[in-house]
Symmetry: C2
Subunit: 256 residues, 2 copies
DNA sequence: TATAATTGTCTATATCACTAGACAAATTTT
DNA sequence: AAAATTTGTCTAGTGATATAGACAATTATA
């Protein structure tokens, strides 16, 4: 159910934007346009309603609408052409499957022509409360932390931190850098198969690190998945926290 | 990993707030404080750092921090006491389980002392493309739409629209109003058991309707789950779109 | 009891966000 | 060719946001 251009036959329309909320009108309008596009209200290359129409629709000045549009042009979502109109560029959201056999690359097959995982940094550290619980280790046990980014067709689609018991998976960082695949790396350590034991999802505004890592604009939303993967005999092998840009990714929960 | 009060031993700290982003500084700081609380940086009734410390931490004027705090006091998250400090009130996020047997009431048992579903409105309409696909019906088939709100301990925790084939479930709105339970209502129509066939999750900023329905502040985030429930023989019985306030709810994906 | 720490209130000023109106520039339609 | 449509640019005024500083009021601490 789109927001823009919806007709309500004289009825008062929920104007959908709030003043004095701490979020500027142009940012709210930009977000709604993004939402409309994601909801499929506009085909790719379709024209947005003219600025005056949008201004009337939202009950704001035309300049305010222009601010919203120029932000989206900056983000690469829209293209404005003088005399012609403003057009939609953006692609659809990727649908990232989550289930018992969640795998990055295979999950996005068919939706993208290319995808891979980049290892950003790795470090050995002592397990925090949270990590220790996830991996079923004593607090303070040494663990390896990998910081990775998932990319599909050149765009960042995920940003993850994952932890592994250091003793059992010594050197997994090097293997990961070499193979570019979690599944392949774990196989080197004798883990031929693994299953998703638990996943907890939440959402929040992107922080400064997210903005940089995922190439987002301030105010963007990230989906956060905290998960534990286990071997087929139930032994935890990986604890992870993954952030997905909500504007580019939706999570499809598949049968486990 | 909390944001507030983190020590970085002289290193430059990622200030985490952005100017000229369309989101006012006080709103960004309020959101980060909320996030810190949700991340468990503060126990219930714990004191927030004093205003001057927060102002220094974020690199803003003390008055700006005060705006953020007063917004959170308004939302019922913090309590400020002159001469003493500012204290955390808010409860932890509810963990809402999603799996093959997702049920509202049973899912929140143990976390809340009371929960129920309120039927807000119902209507018979012809199935949109999306609803028709979900229920595996011809487009335009008559369906019943129920608008409901889930409440736990008096706080709204979900807001859903759900659709049912009108012919098969005629009068389900009345039954729903009477029983206050989806599961019980379906049982009246011979559906003794049902399973979650598919769930698609996304996140976005709350729109005006969400703000009103879920009692949220502008700028809040909602998690959106679009799901299809089927009978044990695979026949779709319900298509639904549920919105959860991200600040109060996290989704726990349980084994299907 | 005096001092320090902390929140509450006030004034003043600068900048950003939004409104209002006019007109230019480019494109499409008549 | 002319008119209509649409985006681009400019000026000016108003209200919200943010900074700066001072001091009051309340509570905890020495």
């Amino acid at each position: 159910m789109g927001v823009i251009g919806a007709k309500m036959a004289g009825q008062q329309m929920a104007s959908s934007i709030e003043r004095r909320s701490g979020v500027s009108l142009w940012r709210q309008i930009a977000d709604q346009i993004l939402h409309s596009i994601a909801a499929g209200d506009f085909a790719e290359n379709a024209a947005l309603p003219p600025e005056v129409a949008l201004a009337e629709r939202y009950g704001v000045n035309r300049h305010t609408v222009r601010s919203a549009i120029s932000a989206l042009v900056q983000e690469g979502v829209l293209r404005a052409e003088q005399g012609r109109g403003t057009f939609v560029l953006s692609r659809k959201r990727l649908s990232y499957p989550i289930g018992a056999r969640t795998r990055f690359s295979t999950g996005l097959q068919g939706q993208t022509s290319e995808r891979h995982i980049v290892l950003l940094t790795s470090a050995v550290e002592s397990a925090s409360q949270r990590v220790a619980e996830g991996l079923d280790l004593a607090r303070g046990t040494e663990v390896i932390r990998l910081e990775t980014r998932g990319e599909a067709d050149g765009r960042p689609v995920s940003r993850a931190a994952s932890w592994y018991e250091a003793k059992r998976f010594a050197g997994i960082d090097a293997v990961m850098a070499e193979t570019g695949s979690i599944t392949a790396s774990l196989r080197r350590f004798g883990v031929d198969d693994y299953l998703r034991q638990s996943t907890v999802l939440s959402a929040r505004h992107a922080d400064a690190a997210d903005l940089a890592d995922l190439n987002l604009q301030p105010g963007a939303i990230v989906l956060v998945a905290v998960a534990v993967n286990v071997t087929t005999d139930g032994r935890p092998v990986q604890f992870s926290e993954t952030r997905f840009p909500a504007e580019r990714v939706e999570l499809k929960l598949s049968a486990l």
